[in-house]
């Protein structure tokens, strides 16, 4: 059985700045994970549906537009509704400290702010995903 960690990298909202999402997707792939990149302008519904269909353990959201306070709670809500609360949700982008704290309290596993290293992100996902025995 393929034990590779499966990650959905998603770009929600109207913003098209996908440099970060693409770099992260490549880094996770180079680290041996199975990466599905959704492409641009995904709604929370599209993202959670894709996560379900692709059977991923991790969703990574890239948000640079300041819309995280609207988008992220909606993704969390949908994950709960569909019984997918075991899926790890991580967020990367320009998220101020206090917003990051609030998002973590709501159920986001980690928020990676600008300057976070690829190594940090890869390590976090490796350590946090519970591998099936």
């Amino acid at each position: 059985m393929d034990k590779r960690i499966r990650v959905l990298v998603a770009k929600p909202g109207l913003d098209g700045h996908d440099r970060g999402a693409k770099v992260i997707a490549r880094a996770l792939r180079d680290a041996g994970m199975e990466v599905i990149y959704t492409g641009l302008r995904q709604t929370p519904e599209m993202i959670v549906d894709a996560a379900l269909q692709e059977d991923v353990q991790v969703i990574g959201l890239s948000i640079l537009s300041g819309a995280h306070n609207t988008i992220v709670p909606r993704v969390l809500e949908l994950l709960r509704e569909k019984g997918m609360s075991d899926v790890l949700l991580v967020v990367g982008g320009t998220v101020p400290d206090e917003d990051a704290e609030r998002l973590k309290q709501q159920g986001v596993s980690a928020v990676f702010q600008p300057g976070a290293s690829l190594e940090q992100i890869v390590d976090f996902i490796r350590l946090s995903v519970k591998q099936p025995a």
């Binding site: 109207l14 492409g39 300041g66 819309a67 306070n69 101020p96 600008p114």
Partner: protein
């Protein structure tokens, strides 16, 4: 500091440019053998304009200090504009929010959470009237950063000028209107490439005939660079985009010297000081040759590449944000030494959010200090003749010329975009850049060296979350107040024109004058043109 002896450690210093061009320890005459100053450089103001487009450069006229700005509602942004003009800023530059950039009204479901966040929200002519309230459009040059809905917003601008009683022939300013770099880099597209190019060409044609002092396009490398390209790629893709626009305008029946003098450019000012200066110089030289030799331009103004520069947003760090003032200063200096016509300097807090008033004031003061305090603006192209800079200028020209030839061979920029060529070149370059940063080969102060464990938070601009609600209320009142029969008729006529080959601008003007919204107009065009979904290139 975590690394007190850091300055004596030689590792992490890279002896190549950001584009990967090799850098020698020292340069001499042997490195520029074959360079003919008269032929390859010209005096400032002379073909091929390598040394600048004006004989006296900034002695005659300083660059325009133009801070890109916009947030929340038109009312709030109008107040910021008036503040910036009072502080000595000499031009305006409008930042629109994402719904506006994507052609959605503030009350569209896709706009939820995004209204007024990355720029000002504009859904109708009413918003544009408020945005420019008490700002005399005859005197202030206004640049507007918008692309897919550029023609719609431009029509609103022309309509505001009408209402202010300003003749269109007196308007000066710039519309970004550069759709190709959206497919390549920034990804704010609505329609497929060909109908989008038709709209761009409609604006270029209409401006050439009716708004002659206005720049109908700003061919932009800035966003290509921000997406992670090298300086060479930025230069090459931007100039090749320019060639594509020229070909479409010629195809439309314009003559080259009818529109080419009003083409303008926009470049990034990134960290590699000399490479950036070489990039601007090479750009002028290459464009002059393209215009004269490839397109047969006769008017000198057609051959002169005029450009706006903005310091590199992607170089700003979240860590130790006050260091960003220093980065921005050095980048701005490169733009000035490279002969920019206008300049935006980023604010120290822009890795976090839109800038606070205090931060944007420091950014503006940075330009004023460069302009007035240290003499760099006193002489044209002061670094011209430097062995190193001239070598680098030649290297940039050669490397970018190779890319342009490859894209020509693919059948032009649209064909190249459709096969994902520039997109994958940029994705590769941005990944390499990140890996160099991770390995420590590229030092970013405060991020991968000279790190501080504890940092003091800075004051940030807070965007009022009620902006969306206020915009929606205004819009709802407008929809019930305006003559909706007239709006429907105008949109039908626009659809009809879009389906044919006529210039769409007169129809769009009619639609905005009766307060059809950005969303309604873009929806009407989407009915005819369809929408574009890219195949993502990792």
């Amino acid at each position: 500091m975590s690394e007190p002896r850091g300055t004596s450690v030689p590792s992490g210093r890279s002896f190549k440019t950001l584009s990967g061009l090799p850098v020698e320890p020292v340069y001499g005459p042997e490195h520029i053998e074959g360079l003919d100053p008269r032929r390859d450089l010209g005096a400032p103001g002379q073909f091929p304009y390598t040394r600048g487009i004006h004989p006296t450069m900034y002695r005659g006229k300083l660059w325009t200090m133009r801070q890109f700005s916009g947030f929340a509602t038109p009312e709030e942004t109008n107040r910021r504009y008036r503040y910036l003009l009072e502080q000595g800023q000499t031009g305006l530059s409008v930042a629109f929010d994402l719904p506006t950039l994507m052609g959605y009204d503030a009350d569209h479901p896709a706009s939820l959470g995004e209204v007024g966040k990355c720029g000002v929200s504009v859904s109708s002519l009413e918003d544009m009237e408020i945005l420019f309230d008490s700002i005399p459009l005859a005197d202030v040059s206004v640049s507007m950063t918008i692309n897919s809905p550029a023609s719609v917003i431009w029509c609103m601008y022309l309509a505001v000028a009408e209402k202010q009683g300003v003749d269109w022939t007196r308007l000066n300013g710039t519309l970004q209107n550069d759709i190709l770099k959206e497919y390549i880099a920034q990804k704010e597209f609505i329609y497929p490439p060909r109908p989008s190019m038709r709209l761009v060409t409609d604006v270029i044609e209409y401006a050439a005939r009716n708004v002659p002092k206005y720049n109908p396009i700003s061919i932009s490398g800035y966003h290509i660079r921000e997406a992670g390209s090298t300086a060479v790629q930025e230069l090459a893709f931007t100039l090749r985009d320019g060639v594509e626009y020229v070909e479409w305008a010629l195809e439309r029946g314009l003559t080259i010297d009818e529109f080419a003098p009003r083409l303008s450019f926009f470049f990034n000012a990134h960290n590699d000081f000399f490479e950036e200066i070489a990039k601007y110089r090479a750009a002028r030289k290459m464009w002059a040759h393209l215009m004269r030799d490839r397109f047969g331009a006769r008017d000198e103004r057609s051959m002169k590449l005029r450009f706006h520069a903005q310091t590199a947003g992607c170089s700003l760090t979240w860590q130790q944000p006050y260091n960003n003032v220093v980065r921005t200063t050095i980048q701005a200096l490169a733009a000035v030494l490279g002969g920019a016509q206008s300049l935006h300097t980023n604010s120290l807090d822009e890795a976090y959010a839109l800038p606070s008033e205090q931060a944007v004031t420091i950014a503006l003061r940075t330009q004023q200090i460069i302009a007035y305090e240290n003499g760099v603006a006193s002489t044209a192209d002061p670094l011209g003749g430097s062995y190193f800079l001239e070598r680098l200028t030649l290297d940039m020209e050669q490397a970018a010329g190779d890319y342009i030839r490859r894209i020509d061979e693919m059948g032009g920029m649209i064909a190249a975009i459709e096969r994902g060529f520039p997109q994958s070149e940029i994705a590769e370059a941005s990944y390499q850049y990140q890996k160099e940063q991770e390995s420590g080969e590229r030092v970013i102060v405060g991020v991968n060296r000279f790190i501080e464990q504890k940092e003091e938070p800075i004051e940030l601009l807070q965007i009022d979350e009620s902006a969306q609600q206020r915009q929606c209320e205004k819009l709802s009142a407008l929809r019930s107040r305006r003559n909706n029969d007239r709006v429907r008729a105008a949109l039908d006529e626009l659809r009809h024109a879009a389906a044919g080959t006529e210039n769409t601008i007169p129809y769009m003007l009619d639609a905005v004058r009766c307060y059809a919204t950005v969303g309604e107009i873009c929806e009407a065009l989407r009915d005819v043109f369809g929408s574009w979904h890219e195949r993502s290139v990792l």
